[in-house]
Chain length 362, copies 2
Amino acid sequence: MIDCDVHNSWTSAEVLLDYLDPAFREYLDRGEIPGPRGAFPHAHRPWLHPEGFMRYDAVPPSGVTPGADLPFLAEQLLDRYSIDYAVLTGDESIEVSTLANPYYAQALASAYNDWMIENWLSADPRLRGSLIVAPQNPQLAAAEIRRLGDHPDIVQVLVSSGSQRPYGDPFFHPIWEACSEYDLPFAAHLGGQGGLNSTPIACGPTTFFWETHALLCETGMAHLGSTIAHGVFEKWPNARLILIECGVAWVPPVLWRLDEDFRALRKETPWLRRLPSEYARDHIRLTTQPLEVPNSPQALWPALADIGAQDMLMFASDYPHWDFDDPNFIRLPEDWREAVLDGNARSVYRLPAQEVVDELAG
Amino acid sequence: MIDCDVHNSWTSAEVLLDYLDPAFREYLDRGEIPGPRGAFPHAHRPWLHPEGFMRYDAVPPSGVTPGADLPFLAEQLLDRYSIDYAVLTGDESIEVSTLANPYYAQALASAYNDWMIENWLSADPRLRGSLIVAPQNPQLAAAEIRRLGDHPDIVQVLVSSGSQRPYGDPFFHPIWEACSEYDLPFAAHLGGQGGLNSTPIACGPTTFFWETHALLCETGMAHLGSTIAHGVFEKWPNARLILIECGVAWVPPVLWRLDEDFRALRKETPWLRRLPSEYARDHIRLTTQPLEVPNSPQALWPALADIGAQDMLMFASDYPHWDFDDPNFIRLPEDWREAVLDGNARSVYRLPAQEVVDELAG
């Protein structure tokens, strides 16, 4: 089994100091940070989670931040659920997308990447890493991909789903270009809902956290429509978009709408040769957490089957966050389980098949 | 059968001059209008429809604007499809929501309302009217509802789905209060995507019209979540929200998400006593056009049935617009047809039952 959204954390953002470009060390050491010493600099959402984001039981015995203690994470997640690979997505580090200064933002992301490679990827063979970039300066982000993109345990480039513009926009094409060169998927994880970024919900800010959290799936809609419409998957045939924690049940309705409108007005995007839903099936992947729960559980699947979601969904737990999905309780159609819990992620992340792993292990 | 979205138009916006508050006549007669003489003043979307919005065959023999010639509209729509009631939604008039000057915006809306009542509602017994208000000044909008809300053929208050904030926000409560006093539903129709209003799509502007049109369902999501979360349906038990032309297939996924997040964090909104999906079933209605078309047509219904959409959907044709839904070709589960084509609208708009009409007619 593969878990596509595991949040590794730090005990304090000051662990990044040694990895941070010296030109920016004073910013983090002496400069303004929103929070106490050791906080990570980013603009905050206007919505506050009234319970906090962490599972109460994920605090390690040492008392450090949930997700910051690898042996405890391994015991509570990897060992307990027999997870073959965990894709690390960091925690606050994708929030660099909210900062006005793109040089500082990318320096922070690069420090995270180096710290994560040195302290996590080498520490457990089950871990795989996300290269975090600051998308507000696509040229710098592309340079970061070229700096570290050939590390064998880096499996994707990661940004927040909150953004200034939808990610198919030509503004971001330097990032797609670099992803394609290194054959890395481009992943957007829920987050980045403040500061520099556009409102992640249509019609302006919502009010409550539960209302907001339910509607943040709209960020995924924007990126799904935009990457298809701008021809990202024609321009870079190996491009993959992974939407993490954006939900999945909304995808069929939005693809039906995109297909219908594209059929009527395809003259706007003559570079497209297939229906939006066909690009999605081949190039877009969705992590399951939080998997929607209808009143009648079976009501979830007919629409998803209609778009071929058995090839698109990938299991994620979101450990150690409050809305963790336990793989033992996740409901999936029986004949989708292998693909969703393992096969789809193995394929999109170019991970070796289980038989190859077994053979190498002797 | 009842058609819940019929766009009556004018031959030129200059027909409004006689109905416009004299303080604003020069604005329309001599002032800046974006377009030629006779255009209606409003801020424009950044997206341009590459085909225009009108059915080619809806131009009347007289050559005037589609929707501006009642006898032709009656022949092409009402008679042809045996429509009992047509709910008129105007055309550009909801775009007043995009104007910075709320006094001028409401004056234009009021002129439309008076013109529509005098020239349309009295001209055919099948027509019912929408009272258009400029939501950017809720106090003025409420006064307009109190001025005309007791007209027997006015069946709803109408605004654009593009807005500055989601419509459940307390800023808009004076409008809900007046709607409740007059027992009128509050309806939001796709539109108002420019000027004063927030971006109607998450993460900033999309690029192409087909991409945009598919994602404009997000405006409906914002209003659905917001009216439920702010307790509009607890505060005014007779309140109804009608989402017009926002699509329907996305509603179950969004309600599942809202239910799940509300269950986890209900302490944020202690005034709510039921699940979001329960408020929706009793208080929110959705017009069908444009009804989504899955690859496998039957994939549309299980999710909708899960939220009780047989009680929530109301047929609309969107005549004379480009994406008109022909009632002869609309696919509906057989046992939903009566409710969706007639009964649900009759109930929410307080229209007399067919037997009562027959009896009165002798």
